[in-house]
Symmetry: C2
Subunit: 122 residues, 2 copies
C-alpha cells in the first residue's frame, strides 16, 4: 500500500505526471521497476494472454502452450509480473489463476498519456 504513488487530485490526474512536472527520483525508481517488468517480450505476451483469456484469468496450464519455454521459466516471469503488481494470483485447487491488475496498467498508462495540461478541469 505504501508503494502507491502519491495521489493527486482527480482533475490533475488527467494531465500526465510526466508532462506536468519532472518526476521525483522516488517516483521514477518506483515506476521504472514496473516498466522494466513489461520491458520483456515474454512477460508482455503473458500479460496479454492473461488479459485476453476467457473470463480475464488464466492458469499456467493455459499459458505454457504459447511458449517454447520451460515451466520454471514461465513461473519466473509470472513471479516478476506479480511482484510488480501487474497481476494477482489466486490458488483454486491444483492451479493458481492469474488476473491482470487493471489499476497498475491504468497507472502506467496515465503516466505516459501525453495529455494537454492546459485543458485540465476538476
Amino acid at each position: 500500500m505504501s508503494k502507491q504513488l502519491p495521489i493527486v487530485d482527480a482533475g490533475a490526474e488527467r494531465c500526465s505526471p510526466l508532462v506536468r512536472e519532472p518526476l521525483s527520483e522516488t517516483q521514477a525508481v518506483d515506476l521504472a521497476k514496473v516498466f522494466k517488468a513489461v520491458g520483456d517480450p515474454v512477460r508482455l505476451r503473458l500479460l496479454s494472454l492473461i488479459a485476453s483469456h476467457d473470463g480475464g484469468e488464466a492458469c499456467v496450464c493455459d499459458l505454457t502452450g504459447a511458449f517454447d519455454l520451460t515451466g520454471p521459466t514461465i513461473s519466473h516471469h509470472l513471479k516478476v509480473l506479480r511482484e510488480s503488481g501487474l497481476i494477482t494470483g489466486e490458488r483454486r485447487g491444483t492451479w493458481i489463476y492469474y488476473r491482470v491488475q487493471p489499476e497498475t496498467l491504468a497507472r502506467l498508462s496515465a503516466v505516459l498519456t501525453p495529455a494537454d495540461c492546459s485543458v485540465v478541469t476538476a
Copy 2:
C-alpha cells in the same frame, strides 16, 4: 483453424490491444524494447524533464544539473530514448534540443489502457 479472427474496427481500437487478443511475438518484441527504454529511473526522469520543460524541449545543458551523473552517461541514456522513438533531437547551434515524441507515448499508453472491450462503439 476454426478460431475466428478478431474483428478490429476503428471503435475496437479503443479496446486495449493487450486485452483484446494475445500480442503476437513480433508485437511483443517491438513493444518490449520501448518499455525497456522507460524501465530505467534515469531515462524516465530525463523523459519527464524534457516533457515538462518550457516549450516542451530541452538540451543536455538543461538536463545534467538534475543528475549526479557524467555528461557521457546522460548522453547514453538520451541515445537509448532516441533510438526507441521516445524523443527526437534537433541540432540548433551548439546544442541538440530534445522533444518527447507524443505518438510513441500514446502508443505505449494505449497498449496498457485496460479499456472495457464490451462497451466499444464504432
